[in-house]
Amino acid sequence: MTPLSARCLRAVVKKEFRQIRRDPRSLMFMAFLPAFMLLMFGYALNFDVKRIPLAVVDGDGSRASRGLVDKFRTTEYFDLKAVLPRTAAIDPLMAREKVRAALVIPAGFAEDLLAGRSPAVQIIVDGSNAMSGTTAAGYAGAILQSYSQRITLQALARRGLGSAALPLQAEVRVWYNPELRSAKFLVPGLMAFILMVIVTVSTAFSIVREKERGTMDQIRISSLRSAELILGKIVPYVAISLVSAHLVLLLGQVLFGVGIRGSYPLLLLAMLLFLVGALGQGILISAVTRTQQVAFLFAVLTTMLPTFILSGFVFPIRNMPAAVQAVTYLVPARYFLDALRAVILKGAGFGAVWGQLLLLLAFAALSLGASAARIGRGDKEPSPRRRRARA
């Protein structure tokens, strides 16, 4: 294969930059929408998981149980809305969404504690809103744990260092987020999600638009080859989407206090690989579709849901059924999100994320390679009738 022609490449890059500049709406869409969406989602989600309306059923009515209820009342994560006599009274409140979580302290709570038995405290969470539901469970678990530790220490002190089991049984499900700051795990997830959708959607139009306007035929008659066309189209978009990704990072830091603990160059590399992959997916969609509407639909369908559900953004992957877990390996945002959380939150180095980076690279190479092959083969316009026959 002959090397790429710099002349051809330069012509495409120039043309794309000019066209983007003359279309300020698309430029704004790409550059600022991600940051704006982070702002909206970030606050909405953040607000949602603070002040979760809570009901309490205190079946014990002891000093110990009141102490636990106080713990819940004094955090900003819960808002005590009702104290109920029976567990059965929770249901109607939750159905009307008056409360989203309930704490049920069984009778004999204090007694069990004193006897060194583990009382079963129940946390009931409204699962219909998965986001706030899981978060509520996480917060509640953490509060129980901290309460339980205090009791343990007291017990240990009282008994003079006797052996003691953790007095409270509670399933603790706090995500990678020890300070219980929801922004910390939300922001990287939102970044991956928003960038994936916006970037893919913006390039999904790029080639199909040329087909619709007839300029693609003119290009196919020229000596421009598909690799030059694709690279030339990608370069301006990489630049813009990198700017956009940095705006998102900046906003995450300024508004949500999510600073970058790890190395910036490593983060840049991860972003670059991810963005090129997402751009490649957009180009591929553009290469196989015939109209901008179809391309848009394709781009949204293949990014929005998979990234939202299967990347680990909202639902932890390890809690998914095995079959679903297997599918998540096909979602590039998953690798990006892993790398992002590792580098941003944990300060992980290259050694911890090289696997993810390699997979992102593979995805980028695959999507771009497939696009080049598809465009190179040329859309030889099989008739609609033949198309249907094949389908």
């Binding site: 330069r10 495409v12 066209q19 007839g214 035929d217 003119q218 196919r220 020229s222 030889k380 009738r385």
Partner: protein, 319 residues
């Protein structure tokens, strides 16, 4: 004789079971203006797109610039320029930017481009409007700019698909002057049109109807060989009445009204003139003039298409 610029053998394109181009064969000599004429849907664009390598033929063969369109599509591309039926420059780029982009896409160096730019601007008549957005130009200008971009890289052969569609008559004439200019530079021009009068500007013509070539030759050959019977242009009084009378005569072959006169096709010029004067005289209609005229290409094509329809073959493949 030199190898033809384009050689087409039984080229066929089917879309499903519909035959859009039905085994067409022809040759185009170098440096000529070759006109491909036919109504909308006749198969002109489909033929061009196959020759340019944009569409795979179903069967048949063709060479363009000596290169086989199936085996050497890349070489074909380098030899040709193409102007598609639909306007296909970037409306959101300026005139100069469009020329710059296509120059780069054809692999022209900066220097070559700098030389070609004024030439294309001159050709399109757009000197001084380099910085206008292309979408703001009138249709005639857009078409000339598209032609300029199609010949930027100095191809030996250009395919122009209905370049004068939707353009006013003055612009059409100017466009044909450009085509003539290209031909004078030795470029082979393959041009399609559905305006029959434009056929007069071509050196060589094929008429395509329902995917088949129904007539061909130079304009002059077509006029003299296809319609052998003389046509008399008759100027007389009460022409509608005269037409009705003559139509009933067995020695009158074809009739039509052309403006203020009648076109009457007869077996023999002298005898026809005499018979017309006698017959109309009997009805008290004075004949002022009855001159033999050359049939127009329109007469030729109408004659050919009617002949084709008469055999009942062409109509069947159509949906």
């Amino acid at each position: 004789m030199a190898e033809p610029a384009i050689e087409v053998r039984s080229l066929t394109k089917r879309f499903g079971d519909f035959v859009a181009v039905d085994a067409v064969s022809f040759e185009v000599e170098r440096g000529r203006i070759f006109g491909f004429l036919g109504a909308n849907g006749a198969g002109k664009s489909t033929t061009i797109r196959m020759l340019c390598g944009l569409l795979d033929p179903t069967s048949g063969a063709a060479t363009v610039g000596g290169h086989d369109i199936r085996r050497e599509p890349e070489r074909v591309k380098r030899a040709i320029g193409y102007m598609s039926q639909r306007f296909s420059l970037y409306g959101d780029l300026t005139v100069a930017e469009n020329i710059g982009f296509f120059g780069g896409a054809y692999g022209l160096s900066r220097r070559a481009l700098a030389e070609r730019l004024p030439w294309v601007l001159g050709l399109a008549g757009l000197v001084g409007r380099e910085r206008s957005l292309t979408r703001t130009l009138s249709v005639g200008w857009k078409q000339r700019l598209a032609l300029g971009c199609a010949v930027l890289h100095e191809p030996r052969i250009v395919f122009l698909d209905e370049p004068t569609g939707g353009v006013d008559p003055a612009s059409r004439r100017r466009f044909w002057e450009l085509i003539n200019g290209l031909s004078e530079r030795g470029i082979t021009v393959f041009v399609t049109t559905h305006y029959l009068d434009e056929a007069e500007y071509c050196n060589d013509i094929r008429l395509i109807h329902a995917g088949r070539i129904v007539a061909g030759g130079s304009p002059r050959e077509l006029k003299t060989s296809v319609i052998r019977n003389p046509i008399l242009e008759v100027a007389c009084d009460r022409i509608v009445e005269a037409l009705e009378i003559l139509q009933k005569e067995p020695w009158v072959l074809e009739t039509s009204i052309f403006g203020m006169s009648l076109h009457i096709s007869v077996e023999d010029e002298e005898e026809g003139r005499r018979l017309i004067a006698a017959r109309l005289g009997r009805e008290g209609i004075a004949v002022h003039r009855a001159d033999r005229i050359m049939p127009s290409l329109e007469d030729v094509f109408i004659h050919k298409i009617e002949e084709q329809a008469g055999t009942g073959e062409a109509g069947e493949a159509r949906p």
